[in-house]
Symmetry: C2
DNA sequence: TTGTAGGCGTTATCAG
DNA sequence: CTGATAACGCCTACAA
């Protein structure tokens, strides 16, 4: 039987001739309610199509079951996977996911955080805008006891819950992979250095060179602001028009790596023979571009799920013991763009 | 001054020696409150960091400012663009977006709809699961006066608000494009025919053939369940191993078109000379694959924004006059996979 | 122009 | 085992 579901516990109570507190308790299997009563309540609830009003519950309990998710963009492969994982894990536990995009703008991020704060989310998952270096807008959550978990893009020195990868190690492996393929002059496309992640990625590159006794040439260290495909072409041109051009390129994302492949091919440069290339993220394009692009895989969906699990852990909803900082594994996926078999 | 923002209108009222209703009214510039009072209230609110509690407002008003978004998956290019547009338009108006994925499962879709219903969303934007052919789970919203806007994947015969494209026309143009490039035996990969969208796409194909006097050969009409890349390979093999193989293929999405390009190339079939190919969606891969894939562009972000605008229109939040059915423009993007210059 | 009172639907506390 | 009662924070007749 379906009814205009404005059925409240009071309606049930009236029809059953009991009080609404009894109904409330029966509905959540409170031990102290008689079996008979409980069954009767539940039957009628079912029959009338009773649905608890989350708004009222939240108001009463002083917090909702909505998790706020704050990311730079959702229409990017890695991030949409991240969000997908979050949504899935949250929903399985009966929580909902509220999303907002900062478009990499710190100001928008502040506004969105504020909106989330007002709507009384029970927890916040953030992947910061590139611009973001201050975290006052996050502070308010901590002060109000609302847990915050940072994902992927982590603040510099904050003591905070994090789900991430070991960027340094990941890029170390990527660079080492190129070295193992015989590259001796390896260029790196880095992202904006104010973002910790990109400094770590650069460090892995530098460490790998050092370990293998290769000289570090700062001409080979290029940086871009947003690592867009367009910027990729510019970087490629810069790198390949050097007097002494590189024989390998490690790009901090797949966008720029793909552009480089396209550019190099247009110049008649053979990949991977003349130039080996590896990217980062393992986006779907990697298996489309020719030659297929080697990349570093990071587990987006998993990271999203872990972030939610972390949140639940803090909220004591799940009692699994999750460390404050979770670091998920990455691995190099070698493909034709770098493998000189 | 920042405070643990549990500041309520009552706190303000007490400190100012007025009643909380005065504060409530002052805060929203109610005409009947004295200028002095209003200013004082606002100043103190600012000073104490007062934030309205949306939960309470929503409970009182009987509806929230959260928009529910129900899609099959978010980590797909077209859909993530759709959601991105929705998020943007909603947030600009001070609304939030709650997302959930059905994973193309009707049962999950029902569950998610139910969760949304309980959380008192103020409106629902849906793109249905492929499996979905019944709409009882949507009905409850309409009955409770919660507006529903369907996007992209539209129910069969329901009388409902819609934001979509003209699938028949779009595929008509795509097929005609192939014909204009000299194709005479054109195959079509369709999606599951229980989904209206795919029947429309098939119809456009058929109509185009008819208009140009080309025979319809049902051997050339292939269908897949999910149009995944993997299925794309199967379809490609089927199509190209026909006794009388096609000289053009129109695929109902880019995934399968891309697989077909890869398959054809592996068989030494020249594209577009031997086989011209066009896809649907204009995903980013189109400009990565070689040859670049022609496709039909549909404006994902725009569709998302329009859906929100439609919702606001129904809710009388914006008074722009939006028709019940919005059909956005598509266009063929001709690229190397089909242009025989 | 402002205040009072009641209620949105639920749960927690305290009595019985 | 069950029932009143009072919040949670806000809004809105109605009254003053």
């Amino acid at each position: 039987m379906k009814k205009k579901s404005n059925v409240t516990i009071h309606d049930l109570a009236r029809q059953l001739g009991v009080s609404s507190s009894t109904v409330s308790r029966a509905l959540k299997n409170h031990a102290s309610i008689g079996e008979e009563t409980t069954k009767a309540v539940k039957r009628l609830a079912e029959e009338l199509g009773y649905r608890p009003n989350f708004l009222a519950v939240s108001l009463r309990k002083q917090h909702s079951t909505n998790i706020g998710v704050l990311v730079p963009h959702i229409n990017r492969p890695f991030i949409s996977s991240l969000v997908s994982g979050m949504e899935q894990a949250a929903r399985e536990a009966g929580y909902s996911v509220l999303i907002s995009q900062s478009y990499e703008s710190h100001d928008i991020e502040i506004g969105n955080a504020s909106a989330f704060f007002n709507s009384r989310i029970c927890g916040l998952l953030v992947s910061c805008a590139t611009e973001t270096t201050k975290y006052d807008h996050i502070q308010q959550f901590k002060e109000s006891g609302i847990p915050v978990v940072f994902v992927d893009r982590i603040p510099e020195k904050e003591d905070c819950y994090q789900v991430m990868i070991d960027n340094r190690e990941a890029t170390f492996k990527a660079t080492e992979h190129l070295i193992q393929q015989g590259c001796r002059r390896i260029a790196h496309y880095g992202g904006p250095p104010q973002q910790l992640m990109y400094r770590q990625r650069r460090q892995g590159y530098i460490d790998a060179l050092a370990k293998h006794g290769l000289p570090f040439d700062e001409n080979l260290l290029l940086t871009a602001n947003k690592l867009t495909p367009e910027e990729g072409f510019v970087l490629a041109e810069q790198a390949l028009s050097l007097a002494n051009p590189p024989d390998g390129i490690f790009a901090a994302n797949d966008n720029t790596a793909v552009s480089t492949i396209l550019y190099a091919k247009s110049k008649g440069i053979r990949i991977p023979q003349d130039l080996a290339i590896i990217g980062f993220n393992d986006d779907p394009v990697c298996t489309i571009i020719e030659p297929n692009l080697s990349s570093v895989h990071q587990p987006g969906v998993e990271m999203g799920k872990m972030a939610v699990k972390q949140l639940f852990n803090i909220l004591d909803i799940e009692i699994t013991d999750v460390p404050k900082i979770t670091i998920l594994d990455t691995y190099v996926v070698p493909r034709a763009s770098s493998v000189r078999s």
